[in-house]
Amino acid sequence: MKFSYNFLKKYIDIKLTPEKLAELLTMHSFECAVFRKTDNDSILDVDILPNRSHDALSHYGLVKEIATLTKKPLKKLKTKFREDSKIKSGDFISVSVTEKNLCPRYIAKVLTDVKIGHSPKWLKNALAEFNINSHNNIVDILNYVMLEIGQPLHAFDYDKLDGKKIIVRTARKGEKINTLDGGRYDLDEDVLVIADSKKPAAIAGIKGGLETGISEKTRTIVIESANFESGAIKRTSRTLGLNTDAAIRFSYGIDPNLTEFGMNRVCALIQEIIPGVKIASGKIDIYPKKFLLRTIKLNLDYLNKLVGENIKPEFVKITLESLGAKIKIVGKKLFFVTVPTARLDLEIEEDLIEEVFRIYGCMNLKGQMPVAAITIPKKNDVNFLINKTRDILTGVGFSEVYNYSFVGDKDISEDYKSKLIEIQNPASEDFKFLRPELTFGLLKNIKNNFRFFEKVKFFESGKVFSASASERLSLAGIYAVKESKENVAGRRFFELKGDLDVLFENLGITDCQYNSAVSKWWHPGRFAHIKYGENFLGIIGEVNPATLAVLDIPGRVAMFHLDFEKLIEIVEEEREFSPISKFPAVIRDISILVGRETKVDDVLNVIHGAGAELVKGVDLFDYYEGEELPEGRKNLAFHIIYQAERTLINEEVRHEEEKIKNALIKELNAEIR
């Protein structure tokens, strides 16, 4: 909220410059800065904390705070006025409150012989400083008092109130109201209104109605100073999209005892400013459940133990008293503190500790290392593996990106949408769903980077979301090259696969299978599921050139994505050390001609399934297709490693080799070379 420095100084005698005052408030109460300087005033921007908005969102409220900090006395506001004993407020109007929970207190007072006109210049200027338009003398005084003490007020034209009645009730469905600012609102049972015997005359605590508002012809007015329940006002303000200065203040909650002070202040000012006004004696005050003073226990030992300081009892006493609290001391260390009702935020011992601490000065606190025994932190295995993965992938040339956790409506095909998690109130259509895969983001990164780079190699680790599995940790990588020609078929695919091999090997995962598969968006001949035993680990493939064309991406793009949580499970399982054999391995090479369509995996399966139990490993070391070979055949060469817990003799190795060769001939029609 904006505060006028001159306005503040009317209520307290301080010598501080606006800058010094701002600093004092920042260090003890609220962040504050000099917002703007005018010819003879300074406007301060004070960030009143939400828990203090009920008492400090007004000039007099803030002055109370300044008085506490500076130990200077607060000047009293004029609240005395003369009533006309010949007329009584109660004879003019009756008030009934049907929603007592939503309206804890309602005060009404009647004024007659009111001459509506312009406000004096000082009042217009004061309002102008806060961008409030001047309407007429009565409305301006009401607004002024709200800025001054924080109590929102309203005035009705008495002659426009049907039945001479004020009823605080919820609206009926179908009721409508035209408001003072020219708005028109449809009301329902959720909206609290101030009604006369026929119609709603105001939206309670938010905005007055046009029909019953003050006009030039108004002669008799009813002034309302009421208290409304914060939640109700906030909900209505939000539903109707009507955010007024009054609504903001009620939304934070206000002390019901402020209503009386507000009414007295308004009457005093009206009498001062508008000559001839008669103030009817007495008031209508519906206040069924009195808001009582609270007494909170404060243990000084606990205070110092919580803060870690040694604040003296005398300081605590003076400080709390300067806030308007009454203190009863039991023994030396136990205070019973009765706090003023205006401080709705002071409820428990810790609230009082905060008051003492901030006035003492947070900035004065000396750091002190905890004396608790140092415990060894628990290792976070997931974090360890994510970080290890990041290091491996950057080691093979991937750079890490952080994309948005959202995907847009356009990114997702209709049939897929039901499997996703949708945001009820998305920031925009481009952020409507939570990402089901990291690949969406990575693919979007290519185009922009191709403006500056020939190759892009990115990875991301992060959460992905689906309706069935909620959220899971995922890992994905992309390798994009602007040049689409390739000197080896599937070069980018194999380069990416090689990077994955490095990752798996370093994480201690061996024997992943790659099963060719087909899926939308992907190159039909260059896409595979990655499996570990029965577990589906992820996918790798080249993006279908048609998909790239739609995205306006040239070249070739290979991607992988992995279920990182599954990966972690496997790493845990495989974390078993196998001792190095004392006996030498025998390596024999085998070279075969097979059909072009035969996959390396097929050959490996046959070798492993041939019944040769001494085989410990098989590695492809050469691959050739060319004119010298028979039509439709290709050449594959493998190292086969034989090992046992004894020294092998030639004869048994040869025997194993025969088994393998026979199986290859029989099952793959292979030609042994």
Binding site: H28, S29, F30, E31, P50, N51, S53, G231, R235, S251, Y252, L306, V307, G308, E309, E350, E354, F357, C362, M363, L365, K366, G367, Q368, P370, V371, A372, I374, T375, P377, N380, V382, N383, R390, L393, T394, G395, V396, G397, S399, E400, V401, N403, S405, E422, I423, Q424, N425, P426, A427, L434, G441, N448, N449, F452, V456, K457, F458, S470, E471
Partner: protein, 345 residues
């Protein structure tokens, strides 16, 4: 055959070989010399074959002399051989000379994201002070994000942080444990962790959080926080200050970083404070964290016995700290995936 003649023959042979060796320019020629003079059918062996024909009293003298000449010449040839080899290698390597000022050829390493680097730095420092790293979920329930943290239904704090809610077919869910949202802070892990663990405890919780707000150079709809929580019998605000002093000193690698506490408001702490740091004398105070003493209602929601423990909690903006650390002026760069930006880290 004249005796002086035999002696002379040896001298002549020795001289011839020495001359030939000194003229030899390569290893092939040197080998030819070795074969011609010292080989099995070489000239020296021819002289040995003549030995039986010379007088008995001179035989021993000439025999010894032949042996010594052979040894000398072999040594000479070996020495020359080593010289020639060295020379050959030297010349060969000379031809392999390169321009060492040409640019090197490197395998290009990738780059870790700056937020990852800073997060690791923060984790390392806190782990060395005994804090464990724990993670939480990004989809959180209304209960843990708000209710368990003393942020009641109509509390002003819900106003401050506008939330992304998860759309649910059962449109009106009243149970806050089932009403889902994207967590607006990492604080829900305070409640979740304390429900499952008893004090004393010290943890940090890094993670991604979401806020429904307009984006600009310092605001994003997603960003990262690091929550801290330390609870024990007598953990105080002064302890928090010391932990922060140590942390920021090490984080910025400085002898001292000035720390300033000032009042702040977060419903889940009481007292609540804002934490500012100053990196250089005379520079501006920078707001880096919100913190305070855990509110008794948070302890209660987590099932702790009231009055038996106390502790502090804090929240640090990872993005903000990274911006200060690297001098980055726009938070949106972190999520731009622009390699021109990323390759600088």
């Amino acid at each position: 055959m004249a005796v002086e003649n035999f002696d002379e023959k040896i001298n002549i042979l020795e001289k011839k070989v020495k001359e030939a060796v000194s003229r030899a320019l390569d290893l092939v020629r040197l080998d030819e010399i070795r074969v011609k003079y010292l080989g099995r059918k070489g000239e020296l062996n021819d002289l040995i074959k003549e030995l039986p024909g010379i007088p008995e009293e001179l035989k021993a003298h000439n025999g010894r002399r032949l042996n010594s000449v052979r040894n000398d010449l072999e040594n000479l040839i070996n020495k020359k051989s080593v010289e020639l080899k060295d020379k050959f290698v030297e010349e060969k390597l000379k031809k392999e000379g390169i321009d060492v000022t040409m640019p090197g050829r490197s395998v290009s390493l990738g780059h870790l994201h700056p937020l990852t680097k800073v997060e690791r730095r923060i984790e390392d420092i806190f782990q060395s002070m005994g804090f464990s790293v724990v993670f939480g979920s990004e989809i959180e329930s209304e209960y843990y994000n708000f209710d368990a943290l003393n942020i009641s239904k109509d509390h002003p704090a819900r106003e401050m942080q506008d939330t992304f809610w998860i759309k649910n077919p059962k449109s009106e869910i009243q149970n806050p444990k089932q009403h889902l949202l994207l967590r607006t802070h990492t604080s829900p892990m305070q409640a979740r962790y304390m429900e499952k663990n008893n004090p004393p405890l010290r943890i940090i919780v890094p993670g991604r959080v979401y806020r429904h707000e307009a984006t600009d150079a310092s605001h994003e709809i997603q960003f990262h926080q690091i929550e801290g929580l330390m609870v024990g019998e007598d953990i105080s605000l002064a302890n928090l200050k010391a932990i922060f002093e140590e942390f920021f000193k090490r984080f910025f690698n400085k002898k001292k970083v000035e720390i300033r506490f000032r009042p702040g408001y977060f419903p889940f702490v009481e007292p609540g404070i804002e934490v500012d740091i100053k990196l250089e004398t005379g520079s501006k105070w920078l707001e880096v964290a919100g913190a305070g003493m855990v509110h008794p209602k948070v302890f209660k929601a987590a099932g702790y016995i009231p009055g038996k423990q106390q502790g502090f909690a804090f929240g640090v903006g990872l993005d903000r700290l990274s911006m200060i650390y690297y001098g980055i002026s726009d938070i949106r760069l972190f999520y731009s995936s622009d390699f021109r930006f990323l390759k600088q880290f």
